[in-house]
Subunit: 236 residues, 2 copies
């Protein structure tokens, strides 16, 4: 079965967590909205899909199934493609970690959009500066410290939940990569506090399928329309 991923064509955004899983697993998939007339196709599914319409991209078509919410898509893909354990308790644990990543991603987004998504960044710059300060003082240490401590406590395992890579490892790669892009100065100073996460990032980047993906044009470059945006004035 060929999967169909639907996500905004110009950004990594929340679709990237799904792309990384599809790529690592070596699945056959179409990134629909990036193909010809793809945006129209995506809008059509959103407007006309009966019964279970997604609230927003990303969503995945798997045969007749249409699954929305990135973490939910990963939950579905995980145990099918060796990116999550099959036992219930372990599946829930990996999913719980992914939901914590999801929360963090929303907070990353709000560093540049603290007042609202429908307003331009330029119209909320002062608030963005304050929120970014707070984000780096309180939230980054709390979230990344949490993941770092789990890696520390995981004796012998190279990955967050043990000896086998899961989709949440791929997501943490993206978090580190994104923070490096958006806040290069702040992140450089912070990385000494999260050595195991940085190693995890590098280990993911070196996976053959991920390495090939990152070098391909299937990987959309970071840019200032996505979640991780580089604004020099927020990185001081």
């Amino acid at each position: 079965m060929r999967y169909e991923l639907y996500y905004w064509p110009g950004i990594q955004g929340r679709g990237e967590y799904v792309r990384l899983a599809l790529e690592e697993a070596g699945t056959d998939y179409a990134d629909v909205a990036r193909s010809e007339r793809g945006m129209a196709k995506m809008m059509k599914v959103m407007e006309t899909h009966r019964g279970t319409p997604p609230f927003a991209p990303p969503f995945l078509k798997a045969g007749k199934l249409v699954i929305g919410q990135a973490a939910n898509i990963l939950f579905y893909l995980g145990s099918r493609h060796g990116l999550a354990p099959k036992a219930e308790a372990a599946r829930l644990w990996v999913h719980q970690l992914q939901l914590t990543v999801t929360d963090f991603v929303a907070e990353v987004h709000d560093t540049h959009h603290p007042i609202g998504v429908s307003l331009y960044y330029e119209d909320q710059k002062a608030a963005a500066k304050k929120r970014t300060e707070e984000f780096w003082r309180e939230r980054v240490p709390k979230y990344l410290g949490y993941f770092e401590s789990i890696l520390n406590g995981n004796s012998g395992g190279a990955w967050l939940t043990g000896r086998r890579l899961t989709y949440v490892d791929l997501s943490l790669f993206q978090i580190v990569d994104g923070l490096r892009y958006a806040f290069p100065k702040r992140m450089k100073a912070f990385e000494r506090k999260i050595p195991d996460l940085v190693e995890l990032h590098d280990r993911v980047a070196a996976r053959p399928n991920i390495k090939a993906y990152l070098a391909s044009d299937r990987r959309i470059p970071f840019n200032e329309d996505g979640i991780f945006r580089h604004y020099r004035e927020l990185d001081t």
Copy 2:
């Protein structure tokens, strides 16, 4: 098995979505942090739980299992207590809807804390006013309109996903109830746009177990430490 729910004792917060499910299902559970020395017990689990520490409350102890993230807890409880279907596709759909509720709850929180959780509301009042305007202009219509349209499209079903109540119906009750508390004027004007959601709210409130729960002191009153806070200046 007696469940143990762990959540901040003074607020409904994100624990409430779990409480409503435990109550509707008539399960035996302890609301641990509200009992004597309960906060100390909660902190101990958070600090010492090996292997799978929760990032934050709420979390549920089910035997040896410790499950964090409200939506994840509901996913676990749902199919065990008749609050979600058992078939995979339907389970994922209900969970997807719950994750959309989760996103909305975070946005509700940010109406009064747009700059940061570690700062007082009083220190971010101007930003809160702007974010609240945006929230009611853009976000409430988008989210509640989405749920309303699913209810509309669900021919013959009294509940969001059909003829049987699921945990996401309980969560939507809480959303309507919370918005009424926090923004009575705005919500009163808005409710005419979401008649089916309002009916759903009333139908949930009339369920025998929920009715008994709401009348008991197990239901913590809304207050200005929770997610839904009433600040008159934000409700104009």
